[in-house]
């Protein structure tokens, strides 16, 4: 069994550009493997999931986007704050004309684009509802994966009670926020942070882990994305970094391979190796910082040709092999 037994809501965050949407998709795929049903939802109106699964743009309606190995199913949803607001008003107040009047007055605009926290309550509220929804005698979804806002905004996004209570200290919104808060602060939730082995993403990951812990929100794994294959043996790295590889040996190798064996080619390869060795050294430092966070760490390979549904299977496999599911 995987590291996250009992977790129903997987939240995926990460600094912009680290590939959190890809990881959310791969995780959903891995969780669905073996005949389960998983929902993956995005909240930033980017249509990142549609791109990822190579399907037409998603609407506010759960749609099956992929089948996982062993008969599992992945559904996707783009949560839209306006739609969630209308659904919410209809559910709680059965508003007809009054709802339209609120819309006209700009209340829906206010609630979905300006008011702090209200938008987040609506978005997380939809994910909350999906985790609890039941079909007959079992949960509709075995797990829900939420492609959340980037690290800089994720704690505020998840800590809905705090942001909402600055606005609505009582009332139904406050109550709704409280139920969401219960779920998010429980062991049924895990927030996974995606990073690259670079200075700023790792720094933001460390900050996010600390902030989440301070807010008592359960931190899941750290996913190191876009890891490059090592290629160069560890013992060659110091020489490579100084640009002092064995010139003659490389020339001989090029000749043996039937390639142009000139000094210029060796010089270029040596320069590329120096760059690589420098990056590897930086990555090693960053990896140590990631390990210090004390969370399970999963590594995903860099897919050189870009992400397509096939690559997604590969990444899901990698997650499963490392114990994510």
């Amino acid at each position: 069994m995987g590291d996250w037994e009992g977790v129903r809501l997987h939240v995926v965050t990460g600094k912009g550009g680290t590939g959190k949407t890809t990881v959310a998709g791969a995780l959903a795929m891995a969780l669905a493997a073996g005949g389960r049903r998983v929902l993956v939802a995005e909240v930033e109106e980017r249509q990142g999931l549609a791109q990822l699964f190579d399907v037409p743009p998603l609407s506010y309606e759960e749609r099956r986007v992929a089948s996982a190995p062993g008969g599992g199913e992945v559904y996707a949803l783009a949560i839209d704050a306006r739609e969630a607001m209308h659904e919410y008003l209809a559910m709680f107040y059965r508003l007809g004309r009054a709802g339209r009047a609120l819309d006209k007055l700009g209340f829906v605009d206010f609630a979905t684009t300006i008011a702090p926290g209200l938008r987040d309550v609506l978005l997380t509220g939809k994910a909350y509802e999906a985790t609890r929804r039941r079909t007959a005698d079992h949960h509709t979804y075995d797990a829900v994966v939420l492609d959340a806002p980037p690290t800089g905004r994720v704690v505020r996004f998840l800590d809905v009670t705090t942001s909402v209570s600055s606005l609505a200290r009582v009332g139904p919104i406050n109550r709704q926020a409280n139920s969401i808060t219960d779920l998010i602060h429980s062991p049924r939730t895990a927030v996974h942070v995606v990073t690259l082995l670079e200075d700023m993403p790792v720094q933001e990951t460390a900050d996010a882990v600390a902030d989440l812990q301070a807010a008592h929100i359960p931190v899941g794994a750290v996913v190191v994305n876009q890891v490059r294959p090592p290629h160069l043996a560890a013992r060659s790295l110091p020489a490579a970094r100084r640009g002092r590889l064995d010139h003659e040996a490389v020339l001989a190798g090029l000749r043996a391979a039937g390639l142009p064996a000139t000094d210029a080619v060796v010089a270029l390869l040596t320069r590329e190796a120096a760059d690589h060795a420098e990056r590897t050294a930086l990555e090693k430092t960053q990896r140590a910082l990631v390990d210090d966070l004390g969370r399970p760490v999963y590594e995903l390979p860099r897919i050189a040709d870009g992400i397509d549904p096939t690559a997604l299977y590969e990444l899901a496999d990698a997650l499963a092999e490392q114990g994510a599911v």
Binding site: P116, M200, G253, L269, E278
Partner: protein
């Protein structure tokens, strides 16, 4: 437009020419998160200063070490001189980090009596508004830009944009917030508590009490009371918020402003860049060019990626220990070529749909940037790109 089968090389975006042009007074860097916007803004400002401009950079949310490198250890909302800048060409560099709450306080103080300003600052609704409302950061960034522009101390202002959900928020959020603050809804919310909804019942159509009682139900009476006090205290400022937003918006349309769209060679980042470019052109706003960061490049060794992999496989299968190193180097080279080709292809795709947008490419650096030398190094790459 070029109808040929291959994408035409886009015009070159000459950053140095832009920052040397004394008519340019404002440079705005925008783009999605994680593309190096803040670093780019800082590098542009530093380079401009060392080429003789009296520059100030307004950053919104810089990484800690970058902020420290510019001496921005505290967030005090005032531009401070950056130490270590080469002033030989007659330029200088100041830097500041935006404090949105303090900027909002300043706006309030400017428009009302000290007594009222105190009341407003103590109001819970105002506190939420000035610290956590979506759009406040964008509004206050624009506000600050307007303030800096009104002072004679600098001849170039470089503005970094807030890390929003969408790059377009920088353009839209201030107007949205301004309209809200000046609009009917806030007066209604305020009035609901004041007169139990009756005031507006008279004026507006029937059925309105349903609306006001719903609002009370959803938001709670306490919030409405806070809004009401806020609205009363703010009476002198109504109409001003939207107007201010519109003024800075107009400033951004003037030819003295230049937008630089920053992106990385990733589909998401370039899609966001496309939205932004289209929007600027629709609003007739001055776009200077696209800065494509972290582009992988590879030198020409006359060995293609597939050729390199095939050769590496041959050397490895010969299980000759002597050639392990060469095989590894060939695999590295192949990876690099693949990345370079991919980056090239993604960049070309943008230029196919936006053939008139000048582009400059900044090669990926092996290390991270967190000091003035690193910023200088990036600045030097503007020229090469």
């Amino acid at each position: 437009m070029n109808p040929g089968p291959r994408a035409a090389r886009p015009p070159h975006f000459d950053v140095d020419r832009l920052i040397d042009d004394r008519r340019i007074r404002i440079v705005v860097t925008c783009g999605s998160g994680g593309v190096g916007k803040t670093t780019t803004a800082a590098a542009i400002a530093l380079r401009a200063a060392e080429r003789g401009r009296k520059a100030v950079v307004l950053t919104i949310d810089p990484a800690r070490r970058l902020a420290q490198s510019m001496g921005l250890s505290e967030l005090d909302n005032t531009p401070r001189a950056v130490k270590g800048v080469d002033g030989e060409a007659g330029g200088s560099l100041d830097a500041m980090m935006l404090d949105m709450k303090r900027t909002f306080d300043e706006v309030v103080e400017e428009h009302t009596t000290p007594e009222r300003a105190r009341q407003i600052r103590a109001n819970p609704f105002y506190q939420a508004l000035s610290s956590s409302f979506a759009g406040t950061q964008e509004y206050m960034a624009m506000e600050k830009l307007g303030q800096l522009r009104a002072r004679p101390d600098w001849d170039l202002i470089v503005v970094d944009t807030p890390p929003s959900r969408s790059a377009l928020d920088f353009l839209d959020a201030p107007e949205r917030l301004g309209s809200f603050l000046d609009g009917r809804l806030i007066r209604l919310l305020g009035g609901t508590a004041r007169a139990g909804g009756r005031t507006y019942l008279k004026v507006l159509h029937a059925g309105f009490n349903v609306v006001t009682s719903t609002l009370t139900k959803i938001l709670g009476g306490e919030l409405l009371k806070d809004v009401s006090t806020f609205v009363n205290a703010l009476d002198t400022m109504f109409g001003g918020f939207r107007e201010r937003a519109e003024q800075t918006y107009a400033l951004l349309k003037r030819p003295e402003t230049a937008f630089i769209v920053v992106a990385a060679p990733e589909h998401d980042a370039l899609r966001e860049a496309s939205y932004f470019v289209d929007r600027l052109s629709r609003d007739a706003m001055p776009l200077a060019g696209l800065l494509l960061n972290r582009v992988h490049a590879s030198g020409a060794a006359g060995i293609g990626a597939e050729q390199a992999v095939a050769a590496a496989e041959r050397l490895e299968s010969a299980s000759d220990e002597d050639h392990v190193l060469t095989a590894a180097l060939l695999r590295l080279h192949a990876d690099r070529l693949k990345l370079a080709t991919r980056d090239e292809r993604i960049g070309e795709r943008f230029s196919t749909t936006h053939p008139d947008v000048p582009v400059t490419r900044i090669p990926a650096l092996a290390g991270d940037v967190h000091d003035l030398d690193g910023l200088r190094q990036i600045g030097a790459l503007f020229d090469a790109g």
